[in-house]
Symmetry: C2
């Protein structure tokens, strides 16, 4: 256990974070001379934590392995090929099943902990309120569930509410602090949502410490505590992290994944899809999320199939376990208000889109500022105290406003429902006489939640941003819906509302559905996703006729949001932590070419053909931590020698006899033909290195890195090396517009 | 109109087909000296029909255009950027709406024509049977609909059936022949499914004749006739073609798409998604189909969003028009039999998967053999006669067997339903005493449909393969389901069936659902798609619990099918017609490197730096039709000059003064410094050309072509050109395993 246990203070944890881009760049530029400890020792440990994998190289290895097996036409090799495939599916299916079960277990735990803040079950301490009161006839009063004041037999109203509220707040603080304590002490990587890191890892970032079983355990358990504490956070993103941890753990059992970073990432992508599938009860949403947000476009197409299988198994497992006996898969079922909508409704919908875009950008900006403040202020020293304070404030405020007192998921579920006399009233929402009060309360709740979320997302607890964002959007959407409805019922004869049915009893405007659109728009503004959001919300609502309005909301929010700031919240965090992730965006190079971005010939660390001895090479390798070195003769490019090939060559050949031999990388004979003194290193040259002319537009170079997951490109002209561009350079290009790049990475 | 009108015989049409890969290869190798007519005249007409576009180049143009607009900070340029985006969405939305309407209109037309084969409506000739008999009370007999024997007042049973059957067969022949006549006379490219061509076009193939308004009209109308004739074909694939024709037609109104082949293809991809969405009532299925089968993975990620918007609009339009008043979007609603399934059912499901894989491969093989036979035999001369004969045979056989007499879509809809006494019996399927007869009839129907489909798919009519495949699979699945059910009811106490409920009245095995799995497996075997099939069938059935069995069926069928032959039916046709399409498959290079596949230095047509005059260049260009020429000095690579840049340069500079000047592509001064006699052509060099070493594994080269949509790669070593590889070479590599490559392409 001690192996997983980092220092217990926030400050010292930060300093243990893996090397991030800027540092790697500095490192690659050779400014740091004392890195021998970090260098990969053997080919088994090819990548340092914090570096990026070389996809082309990894995939070539995989192909080679496949080819060797397929060319041996023995039964044994056939079985081995078959076993490889079985292992992949075993890991995929088990992960799917595992995350389905974990999701269900988490739901039960959260519900019980959450209810515990208000009372307890007489029948059994471990029953939540719903289970406790199940099996009653309609109209019968539930006596098994006791509020704390009933339990402690407090009769006076004032004492009752004092007791109830203090237990509510106290338990919230206890839960939140325990979560923070667990995370801070045992698994610091379990804090936050995890999506930015997963994105970076799937893109090739090496960060194994992020996926340990210990992180899995703390993240899952801490998440339950954090959600139950009523902090303004959701379980969706962290569930994706949990799913990836599971897949990583399972994949460690098989050498096939352990030794190939590309294979491992393909499994992780499937696991991420399963995580989303469980989080939202949306198996197709999971697949599309992976494609769009995690950018597994760049991976092979069979990744999509694996992701779909994992998603479906996860969703079926969740449905089969059915934690609450509702046999509903989705978080919040939407009762379809009416399938038709009218032209005038475009106005409120577009407004919701604009509001979502503006508030989404605001939330991102606030969140960034708070994160920067946290890092630079005294808060950095006391992460657990911060969590405790914020949870106390959250609980105290939440207790005051009716809409914030219930758990976010419950609130959202109710906001998404239409008012229906047969189904009862939710928190007084459906009382037509209290319309203005309700609108006011909804807007206040949205504002409170916005501020709390901006602070909470980034504290030392597992925290997803999806649910709070949905809640904010749902409150605003409902308010706009209610306003529209009231206008329509007040002025039914206005020309705008003439398309409504004349019968006043028939509902024309459905505030519940406006709530869904508000949530979509807010999500669009915060995450800047499009297809996956609509698919997830489509699977939530199920009605095809709702898709177009949701699209309108999401699209408007994205446009408005993009005008106010280019990146979604995950990409902002990636930039702040400076992970080497290349987002799949269109890069506007403003007419610049690769020549402006590349490291020019002069600054590169090169191997001079026919001048270095083996000893020199060994020296070079130990001084510079680069993934590879261009080999040149004068200015002519001979090739690109990768570090791992050089290391293994030197290990094989280094002896007192050879250490002074001159290295040759080229077959063509040199000027002076002292053959005895030469040693042939052509085998160390990498074959899969791209050459381009330096006049290529930057946009094309970026696109190549995006599509091919490249590690470097060399720029040559008529055989002469002009410069080189590596992944960190491209990342720097793409994050140049963001002012706080690297602000949260450790240095 | 005459411009669209090709010669009216099949033979002469074939000779007018666009140049296909092998020809282009020969052409690019310079064996054909008389191609001046085909050469692009101006930069406006960059690509010949039959060539492949250069994606990198097109995208660079688009970026440049964008950059120019964005750098002019005037209101006008801002408006122009905004207008570009509006135009894209206008085309996407209009296409979605258009194909939704067209799909609905097609349904109505097909239903009416189909019913016309059996009788007519007294109320109005243009009502189909359902519309004619609508509005009746339950139990009331429909008198408005008259069979032909009633209409002609024929009373004797024998005469009645003779009359009915002869009208049935005659009308079928008339419909089918009219479709064939229309296609053959006016729009030969409207035959077949269209999916292979769309795949090739989206991949970069230039084939504008395939997308003309004339083709659109004939394809849509011919499709209705062909489907109504009862031929064994479906409307799904052709609808995708129709959607693409619509998008193409709409995009012609805007220069933005007309002058950029990449932009045009992005719009077509969205249209294809909308086509699938309407064909199956499955908007998400449409998007995934585009990603998986049409391989738009390689395009930008905003293509997915456009595709989704088009899909959703199309589906909503279709639902809104609601041609049959059922307000059902899907072709065949599945009544969910029961949500639970038992372990023993894995045995019949796996069997169905195996059957699907085997029969799918058989269908592909048969179809290929028949297509080859058609091409080489006398049938080639009489395409309309062939269609008439096959439709007569189809109708005659179909009339005999109860399951084949109804239209395939109706049959499938009924096979997918569970037997339910309240809903009536379909074709006697639910009569438990006739179980063996039904199983026999189902298997016979499947066999007949298999043979007829293999023949029909490739005749001179618009024809999709989806629906017939579903019908075959549904028949077999139902048969297997009925057998399993009968075993279970006969031996309820066998240990295999112990998991079934003991009450014999409760249904344990649901034959209707087996039918769905059979259809999935058969589709998997024929098309080799995975995710999109499952998504389409998932959207059809709606029940999440059904997803896993469907996955099992599709996956097994794909494995078995892949073992029997690597390609799905669309890829087989692409190979036979030799379109330059690079499928997104994993290529097993068996350890070979690019050196084995490239055209070596010696065989390339090159420009020798400092030796050619402008006149020489002009000559070179007019002799060879290549997209570009490597420029070399001796063996050293100077660059790659594209044809269109050379052409426009020469047009500008060719005069009696300059025609004898020596061309220089390199800035470094030559040996002899006669500056006056030189002309600088460095601007003709293409910047976005990739260089690799020739030792690169072929698999990596293929992957680069797949991911980056490349047109060519140059292979260099230490500045020397070793060879070149172009798209047709890669296509040849990938289709090398298929024996009939190019068998149907014209030569």
């Amino acid at each position: 256990m001690s192996g997983h246990r980092p220092e217990s203070s926030w400050g010292s944890w930060n300093s243990r974070e893996p090397t991030t881009v800027r540092e790697e760049e500095a490192f690659e530029l050779g400014e740091n001379g004392n890195l021998q400890d970090n260098l990969p020792k053997k080919s088994a440990m090819k990548y340092r934590d914090g570096s990026s994998i070389d996809w082309l190289h990894e995939e070539a290895l995989e192909r080679e392995r496949d080819y060797v097996k397929k060319s041996q036409k023995s039964i044994r090799s056939l079985l081995s090929i078959w076993a490889d495939s079985v292992r992949v599916w075993l890991v995929v299916a088990t992960t799917g099943f595992g995350i389905g079960v974990a999701g269900a277990w988490l739901d039960v735990l959260v519900k019980w902990l959450g209810d515990l803040r208000e009372g307890r079950c007489q029948e059994g301490f471990f029953y939540n309120q719903v289970t406790c009161c199940s099996g009653l006839d309609p109209g019968e009063f539930c006596t098994d569930w006791q509020t704390w004041s009933e339990y402690f037999n407090v009769r006076r109203i004032f004492a009752q509410s004092l007791l109830q509220s203090s237990i509510y707040v106290t338990l919230a603080v206890v839960f939140a602090s325990s979560a923070a304590l667990l995370v801070n002490t045992y698994a610091p990587y379990a804090f936050h949502t995890g999506i930015p890191e997963i994105k970076a890892i799937l893109g090739g970032y090496v960060f194994d410490a992020f996926l340990t079983p210990w992180t899995l355990l703390i993240k899952a358990f801490g998440l339950a505590l954090a959600v139950a504490s009523g902090l303004s956070l959701g379980k969706e993103g962290p569930l994706v992290h949990v799913a990836c941890c599971m897949a990583y753990m399972l994949s460690r059992f098989f050498d096939q994944f352990k030794h190939n970073e590309a294979q491992k990432r393909k499994i992780l992508a499937a696991a991420a899809a399963a995580g989303v599938s469980v989080a939202f009860g949306s198996p197709l949403g999971g697949v599309i999320f992976c494609l769009e947000e995690l950018d597994t476009f760049a991976l092979e197409s069979d990744v999509m199939w694996r992701g779909f299988v994992a998603s479906a198994i996860a969703a079926v497992s969740l449905q089969y376990i059915d934690p609450f006996g509702t046999s509903k898969l989705v978080l919040f079922q939407v009762t379809s208000g009416g399938d038709t909508w009218r032209a005038f409704e475009l106005i409120p919908w577009l407004s919701l889109g604009v509001i979502g875009g503006v508030l989404g950008s605001l939330l991102i900006k606030l969140n960034v500022e708070i994160a920067l403040y946290r890092k630079s202020s005294v808060l950095n020293e006391y992460p657990i105290l911060e969590v405790a304070t914020v949870s106390a404030i959250t609980a105290a405020i939440a207790y005051l406003v009716v809409f914030t007192r219930v758990q976010s998921s419950e609130l959202v579920a109710n906001l998404f429902q239409e008012c229906d006399p047969a189904r009862g009233d939710y928190h007084g929402l459906c009382n037509p006489t209290a319309m203005w009060e309700n609108v006011f309360l909804l807007l206040i709740s949205a504002a409170i939640k916005l501020a709390l979320t901006a602070w909470t997302f980034g504290m030392m607890v597992p925290a997803g941003i999806f649910l709070p964002t949905i809640a904010i959007g749902a409150c605003i959407g409902r308010a706009v819906g209610m306003l529209t409805q009231s206008m329509q019922t007040t002025y039914p004869k206005a020309w705008l509302f003439l398309s409504c049915p004349p019968d006043p009893i028939v509902r024309c405007v459905s505030p519940g559905f406006y709530s869904v659109i508000g949530a979509s728009a807010m999500l669009g503004g915060v995450t800047r996703m499009t297809v996956s959001l609509v698919v997830i919300l489509f699977e939530l609502t199920g009605a095809l006729s709702h898709v177009l309005p949701i699209m309108v909301g999401v699209m408007t929010a994205k446009w408005v949001g993009d005008a106010l700031g280019k990146d979604g919240i995950y990409n902002v965090w990636i930039a702040m932590r400076q992970y080497p992730f290349i987002p799949p965006v269109d890069f506007n190079d403003k007419g610049r070419t690769a020549a402006d971005a590349m490291k020019p010939f002069g600054t590169l660390v090169k191997i001079q053909e026919g001048q270095s001895t083996i000893k020199d090479l060994e020296n070079l390798i130990s001084i510079h931590g680069f993934h590879g070195f261009p080999v040149v003769r004068g200015r002519d490019l001979v090739g690109y020698a990768t570090r791992d090939k050089l290391v293994s060559f030197i290990e094989l050949h280094l002896s007192s006899d050879t250490s002074n031999k001159i290295c040759r990388f080229s077959l063509s004979k040199p000027q002076h033909s002292s053959v005895d003194n030469d040693i042939d290193l052509t085998s160390c040259l990498e074959n899969s290195v791209l050459h381009l002319r330096k006049e290529v537009p930057q946009a094309l170079v970026v696109r190549m890195f995006q599509k091919m997951n490249l590690h470097q490109i060399l720029f040559t002209h008529q055989g002469q090396l002009d410069g080189m561009l590596t992944k960190p350079d491209v990342v720097a290009l793409l994050t140049a517009h963001f002012p706080h790049t690297g602000a949260l990475s450790s240095r």
